[in-house]
Each structure stands twice: as C-alpha cells, then as structure tokens.
Amino acid sequence: MMSHQNTTATSQVDITRVKPYGDTLNDGMVQMSFTLPVPAGEEAAEAARILAKKMGLDEPSVVYQRDLGIGYSYFIVYGKCQHTVDYSSIKVTKVEGDVMDRLECEKFIEENIKRTVTMVGASTGTDAHTVGIDAIMNMKGFNGHFGLERYQGINAINMGSQVPNEELIARAIEEKADAILVSQTVTQKDVHIANLTNMVELCEAEGVRDKILLLCGGPRISHELAQELGFDAGFGTDSYAENVASYVLTELVERKRV
C-alpha cells in the first residue's frame, strides 16, 4: 500500500489573529439572536442583515424570523465574523496570590497572623439573595467547600440580606473587622453599581477605607469591575471560602495588619 501525501489539517491557529470557528479554522461563524422594533417581513430581515454586517459579519443569513405580536420581530442570524482578536496580548486582572485550602489557611493564621481574623458580610441594599454570601460564609459552604464559619481562627459574621450599607459598616467597625464582604446579585439597571459605589463612599466617609479590606462578589462581579469601583477585590461565580480567605489573609500580612 502506498503511503499517502501528508496533507495535514489546516488547523494551525494564529493566536495573534483569532477568529470564531464553526467547522473550519477561521470561518468566523457566529450565531446571534435579537429583536428589532420593526414589523416582520423581508424589510425587517434585511434590517437584521444590515445590522449584522455593521457588526462585521460577512454573508449574514437570517435563518429564522418571528413576529412578536407588537410590530417587533425576533431574528436568529448566522454570519462570518471578520474581526480578529490578538489572544497573545491579553492580560486579565486576577485576584493575585495562590489559593490555600482551609487547613493551609488555618495554619497560615496560626503562623503569620496569630490572632482571630474577623470578616463581616451581607447581601446589601434591597438585595434579598443570600445564597451567594451564605455559600462563602456559612458553616456548610457550597459545592463541598466549607464556608468561613468553619475556619479556625476566622470569626465570620453573616448579617444576611437586605442590609443597608450603613449598618454593615457600623457592624464592621464595632467588630473591628479585618474585611467587609458585600454580595450583590440583582444587577438590573446597574443597581449593583450604584450600591457598591455608595459602599466605597461611605467607607471613606467613615474613615475606614484604609483599615478594612473591602471585598465584593456575585454572579456578575469580576475582579476588574470591583477594582474599578474602588474595592480591593471582586469574586464571581465559582468562588469559594478558600479564595476569599486566602486573599484576605495574604493581604493582611502584606499590608502589615497582623
């Protein structure tokens, strides 16, 4: 049997010019869906195509169109994205430092801090979602990761939900807390931005901004956003008590607040 020509797959990715992949490298295939406030029909489909083209999609194809009952139309569109991303130059702001597990954290406290570390947390403003903050703070934790209450050397105070920023800060001062943990789940009309910004302002007004670590978390929170808003760190989905503890403990040593 003759051996074949070694024509290899074309899948040699140029990471400085990354493009979407449908079934061939750099085909650019993207799926989109959206509603336009215009009545269904060929003109509406054309509007959808024009929009897709403006977004940089070649050969946009409206594969589904549906009247929504009020003169608006819904579209599903496929097209070939012409933009590329330089993946090699991406730098993401992450919470720094290694993550220690619970036992390592406890040992770290014993060895490096030698006192009880206090953290006060709450779901603030009108936000009634506690599952997130409970996941971080309460004994039983989440997904098999114990919460801060379980950590020896950490005094974790969870004030629950709908806690006004003022009350949270007051309690933190009263408890001489090392860190404040704010949870925000409702993000509609950017209510979380307003609420978090207000938190930072109040901390500054109370003169504690430089004394207490300020952390926030929630499904739409990123470390980057948190820093932009003036927090020390932010935690999104899939964060657990050990991420928070590791960060706080290392920072306390770093900032010489031991």
Binding site: T126, Q162, V186
Partner: protein, 518 residues
C-alpha cells in the same frame, strides 16, 4: 381519581388534620391582633384613597395618627364609623380632612361601637358591590370569550415601567400567554405603604399601585378580547402591605395573587406575627372576590435541596390550604406552590420530579396548583436551560398542573427579554400539545421508584406536621425547619405595626365576606 401513586389516604388525612390544628391554633393568635396594614386595608375598602400634600397615602396618614394616639387596638372601622356619626361626612371626606390636619379622629366624641358599625355599613356594602361587579365581569368574560386550556401559560413582565409592561404583556398574550404577572420592584414588599398612581421607575419590577393595576387590567381586557381568551392578571401581595394589596386586587379585578406569610417571613425577613395577621384578612378578601392565591413553597427549594426538602414543601402546602380554608377560600382558588428544582445532574431526577408533581396533584386534586420552573440550576447555558424548561413543561402537562409559571432560558441572567418570553411560550405550547394526554395514557409501576418516592415524601411531611403541631408553627420557623432559614419571633420587619385588639375592635368586612355573598 384513583391514585397513580398508591398514596395511603390515611396518611394524607393524618397530615391534613395536623395542618388543620396548626392553622386553628394560629387563628387564635390572629383573632386577638390587628396591624397597621390590616387597618389601612379597611380604610381602602371604605373608599379612602389618594395622598396628602407630601405624597403620603391617606390610609397611612390616618392609621399613623390613630396609632400615635393609641387608638389602634380599637380598629379604624370604629374611628371612621364614629367620625361619620359625629361629622356626617363620608369616609373619603373625613380622610382628606385628616390628611389636611384638620381633623383628629381620636379627639372626636366617642359613640358606641354599634353606632359606628352601623355608620360604616353602607360604605362596606358599596365596596362589596364594586368587588362583586368585578367578579361578575370576570365571569362574563369567561362565559363569552373563554380562556386558555390548563396548564395556563403564566409569564412575568418586569420592566419597571407600567407602560412598557403593557406592551410586553400584550405581546405575550398574543403569543399565547394566559396569565400575566407584573413583578414588583425589588423591596416593595418591605415598604409599609402602597405607592400611589402610575409609575415608570422600578428595579427588576414595577410598583404595585392601584392605578398600575387598573392600567394593566384594561390592557389585558383589550388584548383578551382581541385574541379571544380572557387574560388573567397577577400581582404580589405578600409583604408588609399584604391585605391592602389584596384589597386593591379585588377592586381592580386581579385574578391571581402571590400571597403567603411564610414567604414574607422566610425570604423577606418580615416579622412573623405581623404577616400572619395580615395574611388572614388578605385571604378573606381573596376568597371573597375569586382571586386565585399563590403560595410560595417553591422558594424553599431555592435555598434548600429539592430532594431532601421536598416534604417541607408539602407540609407547608397543607398548612397553606388550612389557612385558606379558615379564610373561606374555595379549593379552586388555592394556587399552592411547588417547583421543579432538582439538580439536573441527578440520575432519574426527572422521575422524582414527576413523582412529586403527581403527588401534589393527588393530594390537592381540586386546587389550582402553581408549578414553578427550574431556577436554581439554570445557568448561562441558555440552550441547556431551554431543555430543562421543556422537561418541566412535560411534567406539568403529564400531571395536570394548573398555573404553569413558564421557565425562561435566560433565568440565570436577566428578567425576561421580549423574545425570551416568546421562546418560553413556544416551548410550553409545543410540549403541552405534543404530549397532551400523556397523563391519561401512562401509568406508574406498582411499588416502583416513582410511587415510593411520593409515599416517602408524604410520610415525611406527615411527621413534620405532627412535630409542628407539637412545637407550634412559630417555634418551628425559629428553628429553621423551612427553607433552611431561621427567623426570630420578635425579629424582622414590621413588628411595631402589630397590636392587640381591644374588646370594642371590629372589622366590618370579615363577617360579610365570609358570608360569601358572591
């Protein structure tokens, strides 16, 4: 209906009897108390509406004044009745005078309770007349244009702007929705007053105001006539203004209302004494006017595990049923809540959901069960979410649920976009039609996993209720037995709005409403 689950009727009876005794013991507590909100409700039903010059609703102005003066234990009905006797004015005129600071009700000469009661009676009757007219109107619609088939397709609108809500609601109705719920703005349930007028600013929902109710009712009547299907309107009354909002709902012909003291206690940290008292009056109103109330057991499974805590849902439903019985609510108006919240990774989880949903149907065969979609295990993966919702819809049509709160593929992301709702409605219509008679056609294996699961949940609920009967409901909540949330008897919001009634206290509506003169 023979039980497909082979449930033991004796266990059901035993659980139900415990629930009945629990509710009765709570009723003793209720009958000794009133609250600021209950009293404001009476004012509203007497025709008092509007705001004062600093935008405080008149019912609040009056109740606060009476409370300040220590007159609350006697109840506002007495004070207004007495004022009518003394001034000859109508309740609204009296209220406006109080609002302007021109009148102090507790400073008027105090006649007998009988006279006061007689003085308010025409206003009570007028109010009941308005409500009855609304009920008649609903019945007329149902008789003429008809309604959608059950499970009703129930969707929410939540733009924060009542006029945007109208657009989205009408779109949903045209797409096939049967019930439109207008979600309230975050934390309205914590306000100790009901905002006034049409509103266009809310977070994650729109203020529940009487004017907003009216605007939406009109819009839904119009679109209902257009699509040839009565479109039901739903709003939320749980919270600090439970009874007031129920009264507004009765007056503006809402059809469905979220109404559950336990929800308020557990998920809104509302004081248990306060809300249990408010719940009673709110349910009397709801029973009277033909609204279907929705209880909030589904929420338990968002903080607790849906497999482990299934019996707490059933126990709570049984209590909510008995609370409703005491408020004279017909079974058909009992929208007891439950939910499809088992982790989708669970092997045979679908069978467990099926079992639990069928169990609810068999234990409450005539209730209008409200079935809630997957929420907790919805993720940003909208494609998988859409099939989670499809399985939920399949269980619903299979087990004959009544009010199907449609799951949204974007549940983990945002309140529904216009087309999210369309896709959900399409999902439900497809599944309901394509598997329409599956419940008729399919049976569960004797002593199989499905039957045994339901039997176990029932047994556990029976035991829990027996325990609650022993311990008392309030201590049970304090111990965190529901939703894994603990709430103290004297904690939470609204406690200072509770007071003991005195001997002259009367609520002129309760008796007449319980008479049930529809």
């Amino acid at each position: 209906m023979t039980s497909k689950l082979n449930l033991d009727p004796k266990v059901i009876d035993s659980a139900r009897s415990s629930a009945k005794r629990i509710a009765e013991s709570m009723q003793e507590f209720i009958d000794r108390h009133t609250t600021v909100s209950t009293e404001r409700t009476i004012l509203r039903l007497l025709g008092i509406d509007g705001v004062d010059d600093v935008d405080r609703p008149l019912p609040n102005v009056i109740v606060d004044a009476i409370k300040e003066a220590g007159g609350l234990p006697r109840g506002v009905a007495y004070w207004i009745g007495n004022a009518i006797v003394q001034t000859g004015k109508s309740p609204q005129d009296i209220a406006e005078a109080v609002g302007r600071g021109e009148l102090d009700l507790t400073k008027l000469e105090q006649g007998s309770a009988e006279d006061a009661a007689k003085a308010v009676e025409p206003y009570v009757d007028e109010s009941l007349g308005i409500i009855r007219a609304q009920t008649a109107k609903r019945n007329e619609y149902l008789a003429t244009i008809g309604e959608g088939r059950r499970p009703y397709l129930y969707v929410i609108v939540a733009t924060g702007n009542i006029y945007e809500d109208v657009i989205q609601a009408q779109a949903a109705a045209r797409q096939g929705a049967d019930i439109i719920a207008v979600i309230r703005t975050t934390a309205q349930s914590l306000l100790d007053y009901v905002p006034y007028g049409a509103t266009t600013e809310g977070f994650g929902g729109t203020y529940a105001t009487q004017e907003n109710f009216r605007i939406m009712r009109k819009a839904l009547d119009e679109v209902g006539e257009e699509v040839g299907r009565y479109i039901r309107l739903c709003n939320y009354s749980s919270g600090l203004c439970m009874a007031e909002i129920a009264a507004m709902g009765a007056l503006e012909r809402l059809d469905v209302m979220l109404n559950d003291a336990l929800y308020g206690i557990l998920f809104r940290d509302i004081n248990m004494q306060r809300t249990i008292v408010d719940q009673y009056f709110s349910r009397v109103i709801i029973g009277y006017c033909g609204i279907i109330f929705n209880s909030g057991e589904d929420n338990y499974l968002t903080t607790d595990d849906a497999v482990e805590a299934a019996h707490t849902v059933l126990a709570s439903q049984l209590m909510n049923e008995q609370f409703a019985v005491l408020a004279n609510i017909p079974e058909e108006q009992m929208g007891l809540g439950h939910a499809f919240e088992i982790d989708p990774e669970t092997e045979n989880g679908f069978l467990l959901e099926l079992s639990q949903a069928q169990m609810a149907k068999e234990i409450f065969p005539n209730a209008s069960l409200k079935y809630m979609p997957p929420t907790k295990f919805m993720t940003g993966n909208i494609f998988r979410g859409h099939i989670q919702d499809a399985l939920f819809n399949l269980v619903a049509v299979w087990t004959g649920q009544s009010l199907q709160l449609l799951g949204m593929l974007t549940e983990a992301l945002h309140t529904p976009h216009l087309h999210d709702r369309m896709l959900s409605i399409e999902n439900a219509k497809y599944i309901f039609n394509n598997a329409r008679d599956i419940g008729e056609e399919v049976e569960f294996k004797k002593d199989g996993m499905i039957q045994k699961r339901a039997q176990k949940v029932l047994k556990d609920a029976e035991e829990l209720l027996a325990q609650i009967e022993k311990d008392g409901l309030f201590p049970t909540i304090e111990a965190g037995k529901f939703a894994a949330v603990k709430r103290p008897f004297n904690g939470g919001k609204g406690l200072d709005g509770v007071c003991k009634r005195d001997e002259l206290y009367f609520n002129p509506f309760i008796g007449k409403m319980l008479g049930g003169a529809k």
